[in-house]
Symmetry: C2
Subunit: 405 residues, 2 copies
């Protein structure tokens, strides 16, 4: 079950002026399931995004990048679950282009004004006909106050829908930011099998919007991992409609970036909290490193170790496994005698071994919690990094050994 994460309260998800969302049951993989989402933007909205670095990136990722680059003014996004349209070769490209063209036709736009997204099983043919057949139902459902249902429509193995809103005062006016995400397995930085959509009613020019989404991704979606697998389909999109009348400039950027990053971080953490089979939410802080790269190397070595993850599942303070992971992280000149390892506030290891003050029952107490922080203080520099992950349980295996069935 998700770790300290519950379904968002529909009334707390604030509409973003200029954005409407419509869902449909298109029967893409199964009947009676919300599996198609159309997001419609009013004219003048800017859109930016970051995408998976996987070389087998899915056809919709390639097409979305092309359409963003065409710079014709994005007017709609279309998201299907149940099929990733990845590893589908030339046929997959045709399917993604057809999806855009058909939605554009229905809405009166050009195909380049539509961005496509798919998530689900890899290497199966996208049933374009079902998607196209479902579009009228999604369009009929378009409304601004629809984030709650939309967050449900993009779920795959997610147990809980993920969405959050924040407001910020800028220049005496209220700016709204609402976002949603999906994902729970194949979660890794750069990026996770995740889709994230964040919209604001501020006006933000596209080049600045691109910087802001990249910065938000680096502090959020690129700091989480469930199982170390980088998906073929990931995308985080940031939409700015300008309908609030607030234009973001150099002076107001900091406040706006902070709220966008906060929303992105909550959405990213929600994915880990809903990680496949997760029973613990683990924050990994690596402090006092020479640079961010080595902090992240060590953090991910801990986060990816199946031995560490299963020990957390067992609530067993078998903390030597964390030391082993630090040791093989690939920081060649690391002096292990200098570092300190903490579990929440408990000093576990220093001087290359168990801390003299460490008591097994203190470790045990922390391990029994649902939210745990591992802190590694390297004492070799001034840079810190924070990552989030979850444990590794029977249910992870169960879910992934039966995903297609």
């Amino acid at each position: 079950m998700p770790v300290n994460l519950s379904t968002p309260v529909a009334a707390q998800l604030l509409p973003v002026a200029g954005v409407s969302l419509g869902i449909a049951e298109a029967g893409i993989k199964r009947a009676d399931r919300k599996d198609l989402l159309v997001i419609k933007l009013e004219e003048g909205a800017t859109v930016a995004g970051v995408f998976t670095t996987n070389r087998f990136c899915a056809a919709p990722v390639t097409v979305a990048k092309e359409h963003l680059a065409a710079n014709k003014g994005i007017r709609a996004l279309v998201v299907n679950t149940g099929n990733a349209n990845a590893g589908t070769g030339e046929q997959g490209m045709i399917a993604a282009r057809t999806t855009c063209a058909e939605l554009a036709k229905l809405l009166g736009y050009t195909p380049e004004q539509v961005l496509p997204y798919s998530t689900g099983v890899i290497m199966e043919t996208l049933p374009v006909d079902k998607i196209v057949a479902g579009m009228p139902q999604a369009i009929a459902n378009l409304k601004a106050d629809n984030w709650f249902d939309a967050a449900h429509a993009i779920m795959t193995t997610d147990i809980v829908a993920k969405a959050v809103s924040r407001q910020v005062q800028i220049g005496g006016k209220t700016v709204t930011v609402t976002g949603m995400s999906k994902g729970s397995g194949m979660i890794h930085p750069n990026m996770a099998t995740m889709l994230g959509y964040i919209a604001t009613d501020a006006a933000i020019a596209q080049p600045l919007l691109q910087q802001m989404v990249s910065e938000a991704a680096n502090r959020s979606f690129n700091c989480i991992t469930v199982d170390g697998d980088t998906s073929t389909n990931d995308a985080l999109m940031l939409i700015a409609t300008g309908k609030s009348g607030v234009t973001i400039d150099a002076a107001s950027r900091t406040a706006m970036q902070a709220v966008i990053t906060e929303v992105a971080t909550l959405l990213a953490q929600a994915i880990v909290r809903d990680g496949e089979g997760a029973t613990k939410f683990i924050t990994i802080k690596v402090e006092g490193g020479k640079d961010e790269a080595e902090c992240k190397k060590i953090g991910y070595a801990i986060a990816h170790s199946p031995l560490v993850k299963t020990a957390f599942f067992a609530s067993d303070p078998n903390l030597g496994r964390i030391l082993a992971a630090i040791g093989y992280a690939g920081v060649g000149d690391l002096d292990v005698a200098k570092l300190k390892l903490y579990l929440d506030d408990v000093l576990v290891a220093e001087k290359g071994g168990r801390a003299a003050s460490y008591q097994e029952e203190d470790g045990q107490r922390v391990m029994k919690q649902n939210d745990i922080t591992i802190r590694v203080v390297l004492n070799r520099g001034a840079v810190n990094a924070t990552l989030w992950t979850c444990d590794f349980s029977y249910d992870y295996v169960k879910i992934n050994a039966s995903y297609r069935s």
Copy 2:
């Protein structure tokens, strides 16, 4: 249960003249368990080894390297299970040195002539007193024909003991090579949580012996992975007693290297076949790469993917997960449209997607086997690499969520 691997037949494990082995129940972690092994070498034997690259390398690894470098002629090796003496700081170093000194005293050697090895739980104090108390029992048990019991004495979470012998004719004389290994979790290249000991009665000068053990390790123990964790304690040792009267030189090296590498490969594969919770043995061949590094990167990305491993556990030909792993392996200029993916003899994917000839039932047939080969043909160079791994099951989680209890 181990995949196509059974307990070695005691009578097929050939003694190596100049090597005797003695075991004891020292009660290191539990009573009534063979947990201490002494290997005694006659004067004149040469010894070489390769060790873990983990920065948190265990105290015995540090001491073994020092003693090898001292070059006083190694006369004994001592191995305990139940405690890794890793992450134990200065106290751990004292414990490893004491172990060597006490065994040296009993056998009439100097401490530098003894090499120590430990395997088991990390970050707990090594019970040196129990080890020392068990030494007389192990010494009393010393005999040449004792590889079968010795292979059992070094087991931790292993289900099956791992040992093998081969003979080769060199210059009209018979040379014997016998080896044993342990390990089943925390298995990764460079190195696994494994200990390996291979002895031959050929005479091999130390510098050549070091080259030969490194080459054997690179083709065997450095090509396996169970869970991607590199242990703090790994070691592969090669012992040459010279008692056969055959001296290995440039002319005879090739034949000798081949048999040593064969023994090392069988021992390494046995570790994967006995991988924690393993139900499938998977050979990953990456062919047609530009260099070995990129072939291994792709191979390990596949081998480490929990999604791939759980799909194999389920015998589910969800082969898109393999494509995804190839895509995120980190080969930046990989053209996925050029590669081909085979499952045994079945062509699964080409031209960036599912092969036109691929039938789900063909994939299903191969996935149901216990021994499966994944072959990725990159078509961008002439270099190949082969790795071995296993699947990821409920039992992996079960074993590792309860290892200490």
